[in-house]
Symmetry: C2
Subunit: 275 residues, 2 copies
Amino acid sequence: MTGSGTDRTRPAVQAAAPIVILVEPQLAENIGMCARAMANFGLSEMRLVAPRDGWPSGGGLKKGATAAASGATHILENARLFASAAEAVADLNHVLATTARERGQMKRVLTPAEAMPEVAGRVGGGERVGILFGRERIGLTNEEISLADAILTFPVNPAFASLNLAQAVLLNGYEWFKTTGGEPPFRENNPSPPAKREMILSMFDYLESELDLCGFFPPGKKPVMTANLRDILHRLDMTEQEARTLRGVFKSLVEGPKKARLLARQAGEPEQSED
Amino acid sequence: MTGSGTDRTRPAVQAAAPIVILVEPQLAENIGMCARAMANFGLSEMRLVAPRDGWPSGGGLKKGATAAASGATHILENARLFASAAEAVADLNHVLATTARERGQMKRVLTPAEAMPEVAGRVGGGERVGILFGRERIGLTNEEISLADAILTFPVNPAFASLNLAQAVLLNGYEWFKTTGGEPPFRENNPSPPAKREMILSMFDYLESELDLCGFFPPGKKPVMTANLRDILHRLDMTEQEARTLRGVFKSLVEGPKKARLLARQAGEPEQSED
């Protein structure tokens, strides 16, 4: 998967969306990768709570983050800095907290796929919704999780539940984008309409009559062999263009040897094969 | 999101699953991150087609990949090497190719969420299914995509469609895990059952009678104010434990001042507040 699918002539998705809040992220590269994952799915507002190495604290951090963001620099440039998670959520209406382990809090526990329809309803109704993501190694503290209305967790292999920070952001963005009607960048490229049945049946008739002339069907076997052959070819679910192509293939196989012999005779060459 | 959710006492998910085929991956770190994403969602078989720097070509590459794999080393150790994509899919029954841009091929185009139910059916029926992922910058060639039965693409922001290689692997693994019944590692932690209505109504009666004694309701306003208050508190959708806690809070507010005054009188101290 590469940048080759990015179409800069198409407008960026910039509608209201959940806010991604990274609490004490340790690595600039991870902040950049989160920005990239956000851009992939139309999230644009990032908040940073006390990043370990400051923000922006000079070329080093910004640069590492910018490289990892792969072009999602508008998100990094607009990221707002807060001293605590409580301050980062103060102006929000609804808050979700991500965690990979149970915290014994009496909150609803949702997967991103379950949470995003409700989040979309709230955002659509004008609410500001934030999602808290914890530190790379130790996640969110219980006090930070207490700030939230509900817990977000991921369906993962319980024997290997460690998700990278940017991947946790990615899965939420992905479900957000799916929930809000996000479509893949392209669909089937079939300019030709599906073939009508009569076109297919006419091709079958042609093929079977030619096979008959070739002595393909052993005595008494034609009905069952014809049925089997039709079963195979029906499965192709062809477009009109494909049905024409396939008929052309059969016709060429039938007529080609005849035509080749005719051309050879006209040129006075000896025939390549016996009649 | 951190390793803190990983429970090594729980069995690794090791059932039959799709095979991840990385075609000419450039960076060892990306190979490692793909292995980690696979492990998160129960995928275990990786194939590498001509990795740029060889495999294993010495400590450098293996080490970079191993660090990024965050413990998913069993996947790297068992990864098989092939010279071409055609060789890597030779023993498979069904092949999907990922791409972020249209290739003009007459193939079905599916999102991971659309593809995985069919993939699960095939894998469950004993088929070997592979998913091809292209080079970091330029993806798969058209010839490599021709090897596939269908195209996989992602619903992404068209103005920012560039997915990192490991994230493309992650989204497929995530949808695979969801489709095959993957559950989050924990759910709500509510040992207490939901409160029965009579418990809630009894609490309301208690609260309203005490508020009446305090002169809370202006003349004639009690019915409408009571209804509003009940609307607010019903929304809590309490467990039995929570209903008991909240009743205790009201009771303490009612009795606390009385009790404090009583205790103060017993101790011969002057009262803190007027009656």
